[in-house]
Amino acid sequence: MISIKNLTHIYKDNDGKEIKALNGIDLDIAEGEFVAVIGANGCGKSTLARHINALLLPAEGTVTVDDMDTQEETKIWEIRQRVGMVFQNPDNQIVAAVVEEDVAFGPENIGVPGLEICDRVSKALGTVEMIEYAKKAPHLLSGGQKQRLAIAGILALAPKYIVLDEPTAMLDPKGRREVVETVCRLNKEKGITIIYITHHMDEAMLADRVVVMNEGKIVLQGTAKEVFSQPDKLAKYAVESPLAAQVAAKLRHDGIKIGEQIIGNEELVAEICR
């Protein structure tokens, strides 16, 4: 379990003024959960992500991963093996000239025996459906394939948790679908805990829990239905609800009886055409 208590992160702006990028965050993430984190640019989402695997350390409060405190220096490497991270730009995460060598880089670094590395690499590539590209050069892959390669690199380290920071922002629609499907599969089939930062509401809707951040604080959380059925409230935090939720809210506003928790196209159509 990941447990974040009263987490505060302070940085200095160019005038030397202290700004709280995170301001008293309390968040527990259970094993096997799929949590989406959404919010405007600059709300602290990415800062929060970097605290989970000790890339950043708290100014106040604590972050613990399976009861290991990120501020304990001796625990950092263990924490980083359990919490993998995938960033926005796939090109910044690829280190080798051949796909399978790129996946092997992580396990090699932590001293996994040779034969087991081979095993882990082929399993990881299998999971992201990239086996046929094992011998290819990463720079010839599409964006979606590169992101799946980055995920495979993390999987080879056998993490319990994966934090993805806007992994689809640079991808075309097909690449987005590939990455999103892969992430869902990791969660459902492999039981890996997912923390997923995104601006795409259709992706956030797939999560068990949606956490909305604004100005360094968690301002709203709940199931996708609970969160996205409040478009007016979300708009205040510069977050857009799915179109169906907006249409439902407008119809309700005009006095038409539409269910409170409608956020998807299918349910809205069913409700309207009752």
């Binding site: 919010g39 601006h199 249409v247 005009d254 159509v269």
Partner: protein, 284 residues
């Protein structure tokens, strides 16, 4: 006044075993007053096309003309013509370099040979167009602004060159919905008030549907579709998915409702959709 490609073909690594033809016999004309969206999956040839349009790449075959000047000839006239094309690459904030917003935006107009007065005017007007207040932003370090603000400074740097055409490659990637709206407000005002032709390269079909009056779909190095947004999203929706694109939510929802027998016409945005639903259902 137009961008005109005639039979343009481009091959990467020509003459090697890795040769890859990124564009095949492209014929295309874009008028200065247009707002065009260029869509297509990764590797479909969008970036190559854009680079041909401002002379960063030369076609192996065929020609590219801007306002009737062929970009393949040499000399001052081509250098001047290329300055009519402003291009904002992906993640333009990574190209910010100066110590103040003013200096960063002034860089291109100075290089273009404008006088100090002209440069000053160009910087002021460019910052206004991207919605940044001159007095509060001009002296700030561009690298210390928020993501959305940095992107707008970068776009101002291109706008200050006073181009006749502006190519934007994924200008909203990574911006939150509010940042996107503000950005597109700026882009629309450039288009409407200054008459700048806009070519928007995007993976986001919502944007393409909402802002462009003409959509080009690239597929396998060719133009697979060239026409109105409604035509693409309504009549050609099956092909759209085949080309690796997504259907905009508005059209998806409208289509689902129509399939259930609702009479919906002239759906342009969420408001027309809501009033359309009410009308079709006889709700008041």
């Amino acid at each position: 006044m137009s961008i005109k490609l005639a039979d343009a073909t481009f091959t990467y690594m020509k003459g090697t075993p890795l040769a890859h033809t990124a564009l095949k016999n492209i014929n295309l004309e874009i008028q200065q007053g247009e707002f065009v969206a260029l869509v297509g999956h990764t590797g479909s040839g969008k970036s190559t096309l854009v680079q041909l349009m401002n002379g960063l790449l030369q076609p192996m075959k065929g020609s590219v003309c801007i306002d009737d000047i062929d970009l393949s000839i040499k000399g001052q006239i081509v250098r001047d013509t290329r300055k009519k094309m402003g291009i904002v690459f992906q993640y333009p904030e990574q190209q910010l370099f100066a110590e103040t917003v003013y200096e960063d935006v002034a860089f291109a107009p100075r290089n273009k040979g404008m006088t100090a007065d002209e440069v000053d005017k160009a910087v002021r007007s460019a910052l206004r167009f991207v919605g940044l207040d001159f007095d509060s932003f001009q002296g700030r370090n561009p690298l210390h602004l928020s993501g959305g603000q940095m992107r707008r400074v970068a776009i101002a740097g291109v706008v200050a060159m006073q181009p006749d055409y502006l190519i934007l490659d994924e200008p909203s990637a990574g911006l939150d919905p509010k940042g996107c709206k503000e950005l597109f407000k700026s882009i629309l005002s450039l288009h409407k008030e200054k008459g700048i032709g806009i070519i928007l390269v995007t993976h986001n079909m919502e944007e393409a549907a909402m802002y462009a009056k003409r959509i080009l779909v690239m597929d396998k190095g060719q133009i697979a579709f060239d026409g109105l947004p409604q035509e693409l999203f309504v009549e050609r929706r099956e092909q759209l998915l085949m080309w690796g694109m997504d259907e905009p939510e508005l059209y998806k929802l409208t289509n689902m409702l129509q399939k259930r027998g609702l009479q919906l016409t002239e759906i342009k945005d969420i408001n027309t959709l809501v009033s359309g639903i009410k009308k079709a259902k006889g709700w008041r």
